[in-house]
Symmetry: C2
Subunit: 189 residues, 2 copies
Amino acid sequence: MGRWEPDTPGRLAKAALDLYRERGYEQTTVAEIAGRAGLTERTFFRHYADKREVLFAGSALLQEAFVAAVTGAPASAGPMRAVAAGLDAAAKLFTGRREFARERHAVITANSDLLERELIKLATLSAAVLAALRDRGVPEPAATVTAEAGVAVFKAGFERWVAAEESRDLPELIRDTLDTLGAVVADGS
Amino acid sequence: MGRWEPDTPGRLAKAALDLYRERGYEQTTVAEIAGRAGLTERTFFRHYADKREVLFAGSALLQEAFVAAVTGAPASAGPMRAVAAGLDAAAKLFTGRREFARERHAVITANSDLLERELIKLATLSAAVLAALRDRGVPEPAATVTAEAGVAVFKAGFERWVAAEESRDLPELIRDTLDTLGAVVADGS
């Protein structure tokens, strides 16, 4: 194999995650991550701004898929149906990635710095979904409430998916979480 | 008036907010905040860990009121009704504080450091509400979904309350936001 290798960002992310689990996030340097992946620091910085960002490479793709599905939902669909389409499209991106997601989740929840970044990514996702709903003509407060609730469902469904005892796939768990929201809301009103 | 003054934390918070608005958050020092309030830096640090925390003095009280109401809701109440009681108790704490809340909101949304702290406080609130729901015997995933949705309603209702054109009070706006969630969820299922 020549110097060019496929999926450099993916190799860096895997190397970073392995090192964060072995030595801890704080104790790991960018040089060590690059070394573990058989790459240079310079290559690392071509793909990621810092050692935090390496765990959030998927956020932009997730947001794009979510927003595209909200935007592309039939004009007749209400805001929650459009968001359900977005949730499903986002969930399907994680097929085959459960082991990585589980390890990543364990590292993130153990570090307040990483947890902050995760919360910011979710808030950014919520703002993007809100913008997509507004573009569909959804008025306030329905647009904000639906965007926030949709991201809450994603977060709760994702947490179920990475739980050790869970075997159902992410799209199924997200649908089930959305149904649960429907049931608790109906019961509370 | 003697050296003792009532509501030292409140005076420090008001002085900090005024300075953040006049000069910007980054440019303001703890010494300046204390000076503006007619107090010493030492007094500042008896009440707040840093100049970020001065804007989040109310978070612990908000969480206590929210959780106490969830815990104290009738045993017959489902999770969303218990959370609705928590939302109402939390909203009532803000009576007479709208002007401060508006100015604070403007400062926070203009600064990523403060916005991060706000997101962490909301995540902490959600975790506390989740624990209170579990103590009531609410199973998963209903407990997580209800806690996340409840905090999403609080956030959306609060944003409506601090909007310039809005005159309804916070408890009313939170109730209306909860009703909106009920409507969009019913329409989407």
